[in-house]
Amino acid sequence: MFLVLATAGILIAAADINPFYTDPYKLEYPDYFGNRISIPADNPTTKQGVYLGRMLFYETKLSSSKTISCASCHQQKLAFADSKAFSSGINDMPTKRNSMSLSNLLWVRNFFWDGRAKGLEQQATFPLNDPHEMGNYLEQAVKDLQRTKEYPPLFKAAFGTTEITVDRLTKAIAQFERTLISANAPYDKYLRGEYKPTPEELNGMELFMNSPVPSKNSRGANCAQCHGTPKMYMELFHNNGLDSIPKDIGREEITGMENDRGRFRVATLRNIELTAPYMHDGRFKTLEEVLDHYNEHILSSRTLSLSLQDRSNVEKGKTLGLTAQEKSNIISFLKMLTDTDFVNDPRFANPHLKKVK
């Protein structure tokens, strides 16, 4: 008897909840990216969620000063990076590291330069709670949004009720970020057989992909060892020889392991032309400086990656030994990774602007 009543109770409770419908958002990407993607089971990507996430990504109300949004440091025209060595957050406080370009995050599992955040949902809480970035305003921001006219219906459309919570807010932002797929650069067109690279680009591509073997007269720069695959990204942590004694110890801070000293995540090179300055501390202003680093200035230390030692185009050489022309060809290839469709895609643009105008 009790059981029957209980079941009836559940049925009534179930009938009480308004059924709500969301439309799945189709994430489109080339087959050559592979399907090792991360979407948590409790946060499927939906059109409603993505739209809400996009509104929130560009929402300055999420910061204590009401002036900073995610997009302050992640600007679409710069492939969602910014142009500073260290970004400024609340009261122009500089961030500890260089802002990262946001593209193809669907394939990333450990976020930030040191991999400290697992998953985009968790990642989003970091800038929101950071006193320097957005002023640790998240709890209050949720209350502020609840009082607006526009947000409660958007949350209802995405999550079924008008209630705004930290969990829902970060889920929506993560959904939007998953849609930031960059796969229409000249390099993609080349992979699809729709673009014929110049001789410089082609030589740069070969150098980028190959390891140097001087005995066989085969020249290379060995970049793909770390930055390889068509995604131009592999989830690896390496010390790429920036410092002998690093000021920022990178991944060691997270793992506590000495062999992680000065290791940082291998960054994606997609849209790299747009995301200067380079490296976790923005120390290089141009790609020319980056190539000079790899070719001539690798600094030795106990954790320097093996892939950057004793690799040379000269027999028994200590440095990579690329010519000026070869370095410039590699840069030509890197510029093939600039996806102008991505940085101009209206689906990723600030949705608040339309209303103002």
Partner: protein
Amino acid sequence: MKKNIFALTLLLSMFFTTFSTTLWAQKATKEAAVKVEGEVLKTLSLTLSDLAKLPHVEAIMKDRDGQLQHYSGVPVFEILKQAGVTLGKELKGENLTKYMLVRSSDGYEVVFSLAELDPVFTNRVIILADQKDGKPLADRVGPFRLVVPDENRPARSVLEVSNLIIRFAKE
């Protein structure tokens, strides 16, 4: 007065000892260990001294330049048995769809099917090495590396092994 000075020195020295211990504690780094986890009965975390207690065998592999290299370490099979992984008589049916994901501390990952590791299936012995030519492994190679004999490329002989993760292949 004397008493006061004494108390003050005591206080100061207490302050400095705590201060220096916390400093020290921050500097102290974790001991490297290999974690065995996933579809296991018992999760293991093996340090160098744990591994030293297990029976060692030799294994030989070719390096990038084709030179033979001699390593000593513990068969991966023995380590997985300690963790209660379904090997030997239990390696049949759906258990044959299990794999071992090997992860390096730099994030590099490769897989082996369990059958590749089990002497019931193969005579090749893959080891988790902790020594080369009788010495601990070099920086960036060790403290632990996998040694996979008879492979044309050394790409699965993972350096700086940090995790052995057993999983079911889910289609």
